[in-house]
Symmetry: C2
Subunit: 438 residues, 2 copies
């Protein structure tokens, strides 16, 4: 072992960042590898997708966040494998990082349950690019509806389908219905955004399955009051560019959004470890995969049994506490002290519904309505990384609450119209109009 | 003519928007066509490219800006031609818009003076996508330098070349040198951003050629004080992925930015009108091309003689005043009154240099230094469209001034690292590292 123990952390999400910060005063040399230069505050990403916040409001450069922590070296690179015998992390650049302890916190992506062809028509929201692509898709549908003269096609353009009734799906449906019904209601001339439909499709028999049943019922009532049509116990059997098949119903739509399932990063393959069906690495109560005490797996990429034997959910608090546990265990090992096993402390489970409702399950208590929304807002702004972001997101949330404003309504990227050029004969608008956003 | 005269405005930049607003109370039916859904405040776009502002800070949805103006219909579409005999504007969607009066305000793009192959290595900054692409390019160069072990390659990664010494080039060079020297100075471990070089290359013998000579000298002195190396009277003869040839000098660099020339939109072809070498439509003192009183051409796409016979520059004030003139002339025509010819009133010419210097030429007076910067800031925040943007950009400018913060340092889009996937063998980092940002 080198004189200063080397800790490699893969991933600067909630788990990885919490681990690095908890090692701030430890006598170790940390290397934090991420394929992105920014930490992303995923719980607010749906607000970027619905034009309420800008990307920079919910993301901060990893280097800035760790600016004052001298024992960490940030590397922008992509992990392609882990060599456990050599204790090396293999990077896409060809470099290798040798570790004395390794923390794997590589998160998760969408899962289409084997139907990857659905991804092109029903994007999920996991990255900044995902969020701005969904934002362009929703806004373009409204623009196209404004100039569409055929009623059936216009109705399809004004139908938004959210697939999945977990917190993300519930939050997206509430935010889209508000964007379509209220924020843009005065901006269009031929369409009335009140005619738009938002349909939330859920396979399970209730929304927010990880919450108590009464909160699920409240969430359902709140969503329906906002104008969202909720279909429960309804499987999706097809997703195409111009329709979705939910149960027996064919729903014409050009805007489907996926919030139904996730798949862990390929850490299980890298580690040659046992994985659950979602690809998460099965870990013991010290967060080690197959008993390897040099390695911790935390966050969305770990399958860790909770208090009742049920696997802990893929939430930010779980990831943070696991990252902090790994750091504590490493500090104990460096000091030749034994480390206690990991115990998850549940401080509450939150989901927000539209602009003034939320549900919170504290375990010992349940809160819903405006009070829950205020707690939700405060907690999210508080946990946002960086003082400036807190200030700005707080100001934006209050502003949006007061005005229904959606200031970040920019259509950019591949979906935006091309630059003016008479030589450009490729025409996004021509032919079947409903192919355009496909 | 229809009972209500139809006015078609192409382009929602400064000129088009000013025309539409000046027609707010006129008895006309306006259709505003733009290929984008947002108006862009181009003078601050370089701040997006250097991570100080977010895209939504400098762009607002056209529909929101014109929300309360009932006589305008906004259409997201792309113009492909103008049929003057039928008085029709032909759209990419196949639709046609018939006009009684037409205002063409389609702006300009970069011009590489026939060397279009330079575009891939030296992007310009005209759109949101341009700005975020340049931002990613600059930030990625710093990231790659951090892990580069070869000194020559690291030096090349830390060399930033700005081509063009007009206001945009001067502003970009000042902003990049501050980003590289100050804002990120504490964020990196192996590179010291102080070692980075910013080189501004100008073909003319002085910077800011449209300003008086003493202000050019002040701009030069201020830029050099900030640490920018300025090369005057220096032509560019080659731009490749890993170097630029300026005069006799081969400058190894991976980040070249183009601010040297613009080319008008193809309006001259659409109108079959005379154009100047930059492609701008030659108009008379009433802003009509070849005497067609139904058509006005305004802003960057018009070549209009100024007070001394010199063509007016492509600036926001010129575009705004021309748009307002066209609106006035249409209102006069509707009322059967004669319209006076267009006269440009020069309220001042501004350029900013870094975080606390600017130069302003009022014609009757010249200002430089901190006072000029304060006037520059106030004017830009004031002219930003929409109360919220004003508030937010004002807050951001003050915050950045006090802290040197660059909060929007996000590497996104095609240049960002790809999603984690072990099946993904394509490797952005592999091989010749300097090809990566190409």
């Amino acid at each position: 072992m080198a004189s200063v123990p080397r800790v490699v952390v893969i991933g600067a999400g909630f788990g990885g960042l919490a681990a690095v910060k908890a090692l701030a005063r430890a006598p170790v040399a940390i290397t934090l590898v991420d394929q992105r230069n920014h930490h992303l505050f995923q719980p607010l990403l749906y607000q970027v997708a619905t034009a309420a916040l800008s990307p920079a409001d919910v993301a901060g450069p990893i280097r800035s966040i760790l600016r004052d922590q001298d024992n960490v070296h940030v590397v922008l690179d992509r992990v392609v494998g882990i060599d456990r015998s050599a204790r090396d992390v293999c990077l896409a650049s060809g470099k290798r990082l040798t570790y004395d302890w390794l923390i794997v916190a590589t998160g998760a992506r969408h899962s289409y349950f084997g139907r990857d062809e659905w991804a092109q028509h029903a994007p999920g929201i996991k990255s900044i690019e995902d969020a701005t692509a969904v934002r362009s898709k929703v806004l373009l549908a409204l623009e196209r509806a404004e100039t569409e003269t055929d009623k059936a096609r216009r109705d399809a353009l004004l139908t938004f389908v959210v697939i999945g009734g977990g917190p993300t799906g519930v939050e997206m449906a509430g935010a889209i219905v508000e964007l379509a019904h209220r924020s843009v209601s005065r901006d269009f001339r031929t369409i009335t955004p009140h005619c738009s439909r938002v349909i939330l499709i859920n396979l399970a028999s209730r929304l927010l399955q990880t919450f108590p049943e009464d909160l699920s019922a409240i969430a359902l009532a709140n969503l329906e009051k906002l104008g969202v049509e909720v279909r429960l116990s309804t499987p999706i059997t097809a997703i195409e560019a111009d329709h979705v098949v939910a149960g027996d119903e064919r729903i014409p739509t050009h805007t489907a959004i996926w919030a139904a399932g996730v798949q862990a990063s390929p850490a299980a393959q890298w580690l040659d470890a046992a994985a659950d069906p979602a690809g998460r690495v099965v870990v013991d109560d010290a967060l080690h995969p197959h008993g390897d005490e040099r390695i911790f797996v935390v966050g969305d990429t770990a399958c860790c049994a909770g208090p009742q034997g049920v696997a802990l959910p893929g939430t930010a608090p779980v990831a943070k506490q696991q990252g902090q546990h790994a750091a504590r265990a490493i500090r104990a090992a460096v000091a030749n002290r034994p480390a206690p096993p990991f115990h998850y402390r549940n401080f509450g489970n939150l989901a927000t519904i539209g602009r003034s409702h939320a549900v919170i399950d504290f375990g010992w208590s349940r809160v819903s309505g405006l009070l829950a929304w205020l707690i939700w807002s405060t907690a999210h702004v508080y946990f946002l990384v960086g003082f400036r972001n807190r200030l700005q997101v707080g100001a934006n949330l209050i502003w949006n609450y007061l005005t229904y404003a959606r200031h970040a309504r920019l259509i950019t990227g591949a979906h935006a119209a091309p630059a003016v050029s008479i030589s450009q004969t490729h025409d996004l608008f021509k032919g079947e109009k409903h192919d355009r956003a496909a």
